[in-house]
Symmetry: C3
Subunit: 139 residues, 3 copies
């Protein structure tokens, strides 16, 4: 069985956001799969998808703080400046964190660990909605 859907995530502030529910409510068909995989692909170059701690929001705060100092704005060697000082760091964060995830599906549910959640990592100061292509495959 193959199912493919375009999901629109509402615009979010710069930072790391838990989006499990926003994604799962758009792929109710997952309940039909006994075994398979869910692939999520964000169609943008300045936002990322990642999986990490779903409980303490301080983890998401600290990630935003860490990546802002590890991948700073206004590096003297940056040439790609036209779209604002937050743009080139956003592209770099996007390749470090990645634009896609594959998650196992078992008995109609995502088979993640109990502490794992799906993050939308928004790297721009004033981003709009973000589009995800979700592909379900299984039996």
């Amino acid at each position: 069985m193959w199912i493919q859907k375009q999901i629109t995530l509402q615009a979010k502030q710069r930072g790391f956001h838990l989006v499990n529910h926003e994604i799962i409510q758009n792929i109710a068909e997952i309940k039909q799969l006994k075994m398979g995989l869910l692939h999520l692909f964000i169609q943008h170059t300045s936002a990322s998808l990642a999986i990490n701690e779903n409980a303490d929001p301080d983890v998401r705060h600290d990630m935003e703080a860490y990546f802002n100092q590890a991948i700073p704005e206004n590096e003297p060697y940056f040439m790609h400046l036209l779209e604002g000082s937050d743009d080139m760091p956003a592209h770099i964060k996007a390749v470090v964190l990645g634009c896609e995830l594959t998650i196992p599906v078992s008995n109609g549910q995502l088979n993640m660990g109990i502490w794992q959640g799906i993050y939308l990592c928004e790297h721009r100061n004033h981003a709009g909605c973000r589009t995800i292509i979700a592909t379900l495959n299984g039996e």
Copy 2:
């Protein structure tokens, strides 16, 4: 053909570890696949999976040393402190390195390069066993 298994990797020291054999001995069914993909997903937020050099152990030493200085403990802006000074850096390393891998399967075997091996990247000082969900799909 779909096969899904839960694999328990024995507890390991903080650092980068080759785990090809520990994984493959748990998925003997791979021999039945002429062509397909193996997906590996670690159900934890402070350990990672990666693929790199399978020969010189110095590569794994240098990776541990690099990531410890690039993602240090006790950053003054860290707020997530309750689980120990090694915990927040472990979460950051986990999103940088990633929690999942997809590897091509050809003629019953993983079709990696001759120098490639699968790493368990253990980011905690005193971790227990780690659980992997392995999903095989192919024909």
Copy 3:
């Protein structure tokens, strides 16, 4: 439907290179898929695959500059030195950026965002050809 191919990417200079066309011209079968996934796997430990901005070449320049300073050569704690000063940083860049990508396929085409392209990230000074295993699965 499963299709698997070995693709040889011509040798490239150290840096970030757009390789969409070089890859797609080797998998014409993608046109037969209404819905599915393309998996790309690079069989090397010192080069990476990533997805980012396909328009302004300054983005690729700035990425090369950023990763060279974030993952420098000749760190005093590096022990893996025999293959040249560019080798150990190449291994680290390879695990940060990753060796594999999965991309949705819709109506016979890659379903990426309009600004997204596939990068070969070449981390060695004098690399040869690079081998990719492409696996197409869908209906």
